[in-house]
Symmetry: C2
């Protein structure tokens, strides 16, 4: 259980910074090199590398070095530990509304009125 | 936009601590006084009050003082800003699987096999 708590500590701490969140948003669209990740931030490469290190230690990103280029990507299930914890803390009434939202958005066809007919 | 980023900073920083997460878990079950919240932690009241202050500044809990008793409760939509941000960062394939999970869990009746009959 300690490991789970530690992982949550690290993930939430990693996300408590706007630059690191922007890096995650970029990597959610696909893998990128350090240079590509640094570009929009106007930060030095070492500063970006430091942020990426925090994300990697939290298990949010992974990296791979091919030749001289290190590429980062979002880890599979990168944020699921955080998402699941947050999802469990909603008040019961909110949870019911959330489920309804998802149902209506994902599968409107099953929610037709009882008097409508299938052809 | 700054306000939104600042709120995310505070919410994620507030959640990066096991005691504060335990307080949120307790308050998701219903309002409680400081004394009730302190009990399971074996911490001093001032230490718990300090954690509750961090949660309140992040907009996660609200408090109300009646007479000499201050009662805390989870704020409506307490963690939705964090949950929504996390939800958006999943890889596209994961998002589809998540929606399927919720559908199956929330409304199994609409997913019966086509050859089953309603009575």
């Amino acid at each position: 259980m300690v490991k789970y708590e530690e992982r949550l500590d690290r993930v939430f701490r990693a996300l408590a910074d706007g630059t690191r969140r922007a890096l995650v948003e970029r990597l959610a669209m696909g893998p990128a090199s350090v240079t590509e990740l640094a570009e929009p931030h106007g930060m030095s490469l070492p500063a970006i590398v430091q942020h990426l290190k925090v994300l990697e230690e939290a298990g949010i990103v992974t990296s791979e070095k091919v030749g001289r280029v290190r590429t980062y990507q979002l880890a599979p299930d990168a944020l699921s530990v955080a998402g699941e914890w947050v999802g469990r803390q909603r008040l019961p009434a909110e949870q019911r509304l959330d489920r309804l939202d998802v149902l209506l958005a994902a599968d409107p066809g099953t929610h037709r009125r009882p008097d409508s007919k299938e052809s």
